[in-house]
């Protein structure tokens, strides 16, 4: 049974059809990337899995259950990293993590917080400082740490490497792979072809709300063929 699936999903926002008849499914332990340009419908797909948007037709399922009929269960199973997550500027990284985790009903001690922040390579001296002094990349790292600490079977990540430097992007890719190998299912949306090819087991190419291509990691390879994906991306972007 796929952990995440969309079946003939269509979504209308502000009277405009943003997704048209999109179908895909993601098995447990897979990193699945939705790749597309601006306005392709990538973030809309994530918001539909979270139940923030209702399908105009079709359905989305989390762990085999229709999201809109089991909203609370779906949200319990998902950790979500929004695009440009800022969290609260007046709180430190520790305070932000404790607050959001308490809302999710997750108890964590300082060591667990530090372990997660170590994994995203946030400097120890910054962790007690208010986040309003953080760079965009540092804030993104805290948001990723939050997603990890939720300890949910599913992670939905919206442009997770946005604002990260190349070293941090590599670290994130490794982290995502580790999490997938540990059994977590990851759906990430990005317009970064290179990053997607390195981290994902499968890439679905989304263009103007329609799935226009799919690329799988070949067995035994450490990444998807970047040139093939880039070519398809460019072809559909020009169309």
């Amino acid at each position: 049974m796929p952990v995440l699936s969309a079946q003939a999903l269509s979504v209308v926002r502000s009277r405009q059809q943003v997704l048209k008849d999109v179908s895909f499914s993601i098995p447990q332990g897979e990193v699945h990337a939705l790749l597309g340009g601006n306005g392709a419908g990538k973030s809309t797909t994530l918001l539909t899995f979270l139940g923030f948007l209702a399908p105009a037709s079709g359905s989305v399922h989390v762990q085999g259950r229709d999201v809109h009929e089991n909203l609370a269960a779906a949200r319990r199973a998902i950790a979500y990293l929004p695009e440009s997550a800022t969290l609260y500027g007046h709180l430190s990284a520790y305070e932000n993590l404790r607050y959001f985790l308490s809302l999710a009903g997750t108890d964590t001690d300082r060591d667990e917080l530090d372990a997660a922040l170590d994994r995203v390579a946030l400097q120890p001296e910054a962790r007690g400082m208010r986040m309003q002094t953080y760079s965009k990349g540092m804030r993104q790292k805290v948001a990723i740490a939050l997603a990890i600490l939720r300890d949910t079977p599913i992670l939905l990540l919206d442009e997770p490497t946005s604002g990260l430097d190349p070293v941090a992007i590599d670290e994130f890719n490794r982290l995502a792979r580790d999490l997938a190998e540990a059994g977590r299912t990851i759906l990430l949306v990005t317009h970064d072809v290179y990053g997607a090819c390195h981290v994902a087991d499968r890439i679905d190419l989304l263009q103007s709300g329609v799935l226009v291509g799919a690329f799988d990691r070949p067995p035994g390879m450490d990444r998807i063929d970047t040139e093939a994906v880039h070519a398809a991306f460019a072809k559909h972007a020009a169309a």
Binding site: L50, F52, R75, A85, T86, L87, S102
Partner: protein, 480 residues
Amino acid sequence: MTMNRILAIAREEIRLRLRSRLALYTLLIFAVLLTATSIATALRMSEEHRERSEQQALAEETFLSQPDRHPHRMVHYGHYVFRASPPLAMIDPCVDAVTGQSMFLEGHRQNTAMFADARASADLGGFEGLTAALVYQLFVPLLLIALGHGLIIREREENTLAPLLAQGVTGIELYAGKWIALAGVALVLLLPLALVSAAAVAAGGSMPASAGIIGLYALYLLVWCGLILLVSALVRLRAPSLGVLVLLWLGTALIVPRMAVESASAVLPIPGKLTTDLRMQEELREVGDGHNAAAPQYRQLRANLLAQYEVERVEDLPVNFRGVVAESAEADLTEVMNKHAEERMALEARQARFAETFGWLSPVVAVAAGSRALSGTDLATHHRFLREAEEVRFDFVQGLNRVHVEQLAYSVDMNRSIDAESERRTRMSAENWNVLDEFSFRPAAAGERLARAGAPLAMLFAWFGLLTAGGVHAARKMRP
């Protein structure tokens, strides 16, 4: 879990406020303003209360210490009564500031209350009008608007709404948490009011009425919290949210109250004093002049008395006919004057009730009505003062007339102008001036005041219920 989440959200909001120096300083400034206003009003009311009590005692002493006189001269000498403001007027002086708190009582006339306190106005350059009630009714909502207009919008603007909801927090939990945080600020702002209420209770004010006032203002501020949060949930940007709330404040705090007064005057006009006085004078003329026992209006009274005592001449009556005429005329005049006074008071009360119905359109109108009712400074209290003062007037005038009837012989009375000795013989002992009852105006019982505040309270509860229902609806539909 739900309550834990709600409280966590509320705690976080309060932590943000505490870390924001601007919010903290604004709160401190308001707290100082409220405390200073409350203390200033309390001191002024306390001073006025003491002064009026002293004046009342002095007026009674002056009346009672008058020398032997003709009783009818004492009727015209008159007497003053003073209305000491109730202790809760420290919070809301309301009509006390404009209706006057003293009245000159004399025979054959009902004077209007006079001497509204203008001294404080001169001392404070007009700031005496800034009472605790006004600050709570008008300015605390503005502070709450400043603090709360962005409560939910901020989560959208700072991109934290989606992570919050993604943690499993429901829109209702988020809304409730924000509401508790804002309501917490509102309740903290009630502390100065609680202190003044405690001072009022210590000064003899009613405990249930004081508790009622605190409850009333708490409900009023919670209504504003509901309104502010609802707008913050429905509008997506801070500037329009602030604009909408300021417009709502202008409408409910300034425009609707003005409309209420203007509409009440237009729908239920009250004739001017000159018009009603002229109309009353016409009726009084028909009653007759009690100083003239030979007036045709008293022929029947004379005939009845002669028949009752089986005598032929008024000189043979065992009572002073002039006194009987004065007594009868006073009763008739008072009946006419009371009829007009009651008509006027009924109209004023209808106007006040009509204006009060605008509380369904504005919580400011509702809280103001409830506040003055509970403080004992409403129109009904003023009307009761007028009635009680009139009772005192009528009783002492008729008491003196009774002395005239029973203790002063008609023949002596008729010959009072012959010479000084004749005049001296008409003087009655000063012991007779004890007809004057001690006047002490007391505010209505707490139960009565709470009952009068019932309608405004119902309006505020309706506002609260409506806004809560609106908030729940908006919260259920909350999306990033």
